[in-house]
Amino acid sequence: MTHAIECRDLVVRYRQKNGQFVEAVKGLTFSVEPGEVVGFLGPNGAGKSSTLKALMGFVEPLAGECSVFGLAAGSVEAKQRVGYLPEVALYYPFLTPFETLSLYGELQGLRGPTLKKEVSSLLDLIGLGHVMHKQNRTFSKGMLQRVGIAQSLLGSPDLLILDEVTSGLDPVGRKELRNLLKERQTAGATLFFSSHELAEVEMLCNRMLLIHKGQLIEERRIDALMEELRQYTLTYSGNASMVGLTDHLEAIRPGVVRAAFENKERLLEAVARVQAGSGTILDLVAREGSLEDYFVDTIARAA
């Protein structure tokens, strides 16, 4: 099966103003399958935007290759199937959102009533229908981000590449965007986006790629990761032994112990041991793990 995105041994190098070269991406290899929603994470300067730029053909890789649906990244044929949201863009301050999207739509190959209809419906969808004839320069950062999101959706692309997708959006805007992206995924689109908002990644993604200093350091399925990060605590009385299940035991008062477990299977085994030993289960808590802590710990380990 053809990958929606495939990068193999990608190296992106820039020349700095002082004449020295800096490698933003160092031999990155990954793939994204059609219909997947993949979050592309990493600290500032990790090489996320450079990778996305290489995927769009904005920078020429020094080595390696990228393809989109089997087509050379950045080629006209590949771009026909991709919608892209840049990290920061101004979107022609003196044009209106309607004119801006009409311009992009024409470049996309849309014409006449089809173009007008799509532009109007996209602007309505993104919540800018009532201001579609006001100039972009009068808009807030969040509204401009909506213009950007709308332009990325023009022509119903098969693949959405979104750089810092929630940047500038308020909580309501984020929720609306999340719903919109979920709809697109349901319709069969593939989503690949970079974000610092780990909550968004957790709510939207099937999978995440974590890069640091231009290299892939983790690649995980979100559901499996969240399951792994979930912590279970059991508070019980009695003398049940937890040997082999956990070392995290804490006596909170005489005869009462709180034990923490890494997974559900160990917790269930512990419950069985407490009950077999005629003990009493006083409390049982499953706490969601923090993706943020995981992110910070993983980056710290890789540093």
Partner: protein, 257 residues
């Protein structure tokens, strides 16, 4: 051919320019010219047709050249600076399409400004009872061709350097190339064969903006040029602009943005 793509890009440049009120500056300049002409008429300079036409051609030439240089040298750097380039290049178009569409747009803006100014100047000349002659029409056509060359040169320079550096360099070429070429021609006869080759080369690569200036002809009433002259000027403008844009494209096509 991607006429639809080029037209859309060009229309965007014109629309931005109109909304940014660039053309208002030209209109204000035009009205100043008219006011100046009115003053001259008031002080009794009626009948000095040649002077009035020469002055009009000079003012038109200067302002339109400034406009062509400024529009041509900033159209691409502004796209990069404002990062409006990303959503554009994310579309299924090539970098050549982008460069060429922007060139057409910048040329249209310059032509509109020039024709606006020329219209107002014609009105001012009409105050001196100066009739609009065929050679004046030829002057407009030749000047428009010359302006497209200035835009192409300015745009190409802006791909290699900053907008302000490109504008400076373009101004030097636009206002100094005729002088430089005259000096080359004068020095040619007395130079060694080796230098003559160099001078010939320089003469070939420098833009011959002077060829497009029929201002003196229009001012002195020397009559219209033959049609083939305009054809030759159009061919020169086409070849030179194409060469310039090709050089710009060679740099821009692989440039990291």
């Amino acid at each position: 051919m991607k006429f639809g793509v080029w037209k859309a890009l060009a229309r965007g440049v014109v629309l931005e320019s109109v909304r940014r009120k660039d053309l208002w500056v030209v209109a204000i300049l035009g009205f100043l010219i008219m006011a100046g002409a009115g003053m001259l008429g008031f002080f009794g300079l009626k009948g000095l047709e040649t002077f009035a036409k020469d002055l009009a051609a000079s003012v038109l030439g200067m302002f339109s050249t400034v406009m062509a240089v400024l529009v041509g040298s900033r159209v691409m750097p502004e796209e990069i600076k404002n990062r409006t380039l990303y959503p554009l290049l994310a579309r299924p178009i090539t970098r050549f399409d982008l460069l060429f569409g922007k060139f057409i747009g910048a040329t249209w803006v310059t032509w509109i400004a020039f024709l606006l100014l020329a219209g107002l100047t014609s009105l001012a000349l009409a105050m001196f009872q100066v009739p609009f002659e065929a050679v004046m029409g030829q002057y407009l056509i030749a000047k428009m061709l010359g302006l497209s060359v200035i835009v192409a040169v300015s745009m190409t320079l802006s791909v290699f350097m900053t907008a302000s550096a490109a504008a400076t360099m373009s101004f030097v070429l636009a206002f100094g190339s005729s002088m430089i070429i005259r000096a080359l021609v004068m020095a040619y006869e007395s130079s060694s064969p080796a230098f003559q080759v160099v001078f010939k080369f320089l003469n070939a690569i420098l833009p011959q903006y002077g060829l497009f200036d029929l201002g003196s002809r229009a001012a002195n009433g020397w009559g219209p040029v033959q049609a083939w002259v305009l054809g030759a000027l159009a061919a020169y403008a086409l070849v030179y602009s194409s060469a310039m844009l090709s050089i710009g494209w060679l740099k821009f096509r692989k440039q990291a943005i």
